[in-house]
């Protein structure tokens, strides 16, 4: 029983949290790809930038002596998301829109987004230095330890308050997005444009408006993902840069342009990572008592050593590209 609780702590909860972060990031990537047909590499900077915005707001709240029942990071999140959305719109207007007007190829836009990544990274490091910051300097990070002795386990179920809120917030956002895409006129127009941009224009859909809405959603969700990640670990300038590739992998695996695919892909890769580095011996240890001596389980039975954790996403990506390039939900491909 203890072993199962250990498994749940290490794999299920961690995987779920990681999966939520990947999913939120991947939704933005996939929407931008579906509508604007380019790979927005600078998405990680929207996430990191959004997290820093939230951090500044939270620090301001602390400085003004405002105490909040839930972590301040979450309280300021809506405001940070608005600011991040404005940032995203600004980046598009300043860097990508002019290139699109000149008929730039997706390749060129990808490189432009790399330029944006470097500039924002440089600026963040310039102002904040290369060190790490914590959202929890002025308030404690509540950790819930749920006693499981009633079901015969010696380990408690451990989950932190930010993690609980994260899962709830992600769920709410996903449901809101679903309603937006399937019930609202603008949401359907977005789907139409992702489906067939020329026909959308011919139908009289205001494509410039749809593009703006896409950036707003992408920026807001990226801010959410980045802030949650920072709340779970720490805030550093390269916070999201390290996970931009698994996020792309999640979007591609789920099917580019398919928002639900991004969610599925994000959760898939999140769980795959935690499952792959999990030391399965810990789970199957009780079996040692019934197995003969020469068939004992080795001390370390992880599919992949922990250093290779990020490699898991790439392997899944490569396999997906080989077996089903359009992804789980059949998005765009060639």
């Amino acid at each position: 029983m203890t072993e199962i609780i250990f498994f749940i702590n290490q794999v299920v909860i961690s995987g779920l949290v990681l999966g939520c972060i990947y999913a939120l990031g991947a939704i933005g990537i996939t929407l931008i790809f579906g509508i604007l047909r380019f790979a927005h590499f600078a998405h990680s900077e929207l996430m990191t930038g959004g997290a820093f915005i939230a951090f500044l707001l939270a620090s301001a709240f602390a400085a003004w002596g405002i105490a909040t029942p839930i972590p301040t990071g979450f309280v300021v999140l809506p405001l940070a998301m608005v600011l991040a959305a404005i940032l995203a719109l600004g980046i598009d207007k300043g860097f990508y829109a002019p290139l699109r007007k000149r008929g730039a190829k997706p390749v060129t836009l990808l490189i432009a987004s790399i330029g944006v990544t470097l500039m924002i990274q440089g600026l963040i490091r310039l102002f904040f230095g290369a060190g790490s910051y914590s959202f929890f300097e002025n308030e404690p990070k509540e950790i819930f330890r749920i006693d499981t002795s009633a079901i015969g386990s010696t380990r408690p179920l451990v989950i932190t308050e930010p993690q609980v809120l994260m899962i709830v917030v992600t769920l709410v956002s996903v449901i809101a997005l679903h309603f937006f895409l399937t019930r609202s006129r603008l949401g359907k127009a977005m789907r139409a444009m992702a489906d067939n941009a020329d026909l959308a224009q011919v139908s009289g859909i205001n494509t410039a408006l749809v593009v703006r809405v896409t950036w707003v959603i992408a920026g807001a969700l990226a801010c959410m993902a980045g802030t949650m990640l920072a709340l779970d670990v720490t805030l550093k300038p390269d916070l999201a840069f390290n996970i931009i590739l698994p996020i792309f992998a999640a979007a591609i695996v789920g099917g580019l342009g398919q928002a639900y695919g991004a969610i599925a892909g994000g959760l898939l890769i999140g769980f795959a990572e935690t499952l792959a580095v999990f030391n399965w011996t810990m789970l199957f240890r009780p079996l040692n008592t019934i197995l003969p001596d020469w068939l004992q389980l080795p001390a370390q039975l992880a599919l992949v050593p922990t250093e290779y954790k990020l490699t898991v996403a790439f392997v899944i990506l490569v396999v997906t590209l080989l077996v089903r390039p359009t992804g789980i939900f059949k998005g765009a491909s060639s």
Binding site: K188, R191, L199, A200, Q201, V202, G204
Partner: protein, 234 residues
């Protein structure tokens, strides 16, 4: 005053112009058909009207003003609608959602219009929740037309509506177009199936080399031996 009038329209995609002075006038009661050899500028004319390419000379008068080089999102509310030849439905969206997209520019309640479209195309009413990509070629064409009709246009433009359809569907499409016209929508279409289309046309335009060659009623053009020989395959 004509519903739409093109005067000496010159235009192309950049580089050499494809249209070299095209003239046309359509009334609300007309079914106008444009025919001609490949590369004559037939589809280009429709695209020029709809703002999908650059008009460098002449005027396109619709509703009293020159709408040349206007973008579709300004033309659709004015009463202009266009059905492209290919990729003319949102394949991942349901039939009903496709129709809703056609009504995007409308601020009023469009459920009556949707009823009207479903009455015109009963098959669509049956399949309203199915993704448009799963329908047959003829049914897709209906969705495409329905989508264009949802904005209650004054002029409906179609680019080769019978392309790729089986002969039975070709007649059905033309008959449907006639019905739409009877309900008060002007029609301007480009067609390869020249003879059959001209049989329904109240006015026909034969284009070649980006210019007008012959203009007349459908019947006149079919009867004219020169037209028949050069452009209608004898």
């Amino acid at each position: 005053m004509a519903l739409i009038e093109l005067k000496h329209v010159v235009g192309g995609y950049g580089g050499a112009p494809i249209l070299n002075g095209v003239n046309m006038a359509i009334e609300k009661s007309d079914i106008g058909v444009i025919v001609g050899p490949n590369g004559a500028g037939k589809s280009t004319t429709l695209k020029a009207i709809f703002g999908l390419l650059r008009v460098t000379g002449g005027t396109i008068e619709f509703g009293g003003e020159n709408v040349a080089n206007s973008l579709p999102d300004r033309l659709v509310p004015r009463g202009l609608s266009f059905v492209p030849q290919e990729k003319n439905v949102f394949t991942s969206m349901s039939v009903e959602e496709n129709l809703e997209m056609g009504a995007f520019t409308r601020k009023d309640d469009f459920s009556e219009t949707m009823q009207w479209v479903y009455e015109m195309f009963p098959v669509l009413a049956e399949k309203r929740r199915q993704p448009a990509g799963e329908l047959s070629g003829g049914q897709r064409q209906m969705v495409a037309m329905g989508r264009a009709l949802m904005s209650r246009p004054k002029l409906l433009m179609l680019d080769e509506p019978s392309a790729g359809l089986s002969p039975r569907y070709v007649i059905e499409i033309f008959e449907t177009i006639q019905r739409v016209n009877e309900e008060g929508v002007g029609i301007l279409m480009v067609e390869q199936n020249a003879r059959q289309a001209l049989a329904f046309a109240s006015i026909g335009f034969v284009l070649a080399g980006g210019q007008n060659r012959f203009t007349g009623t459908g019947a006149e053009l079919i009867a004219d031996p020169e037209v028949a020989k050069s452009f209608l395959g004898g």
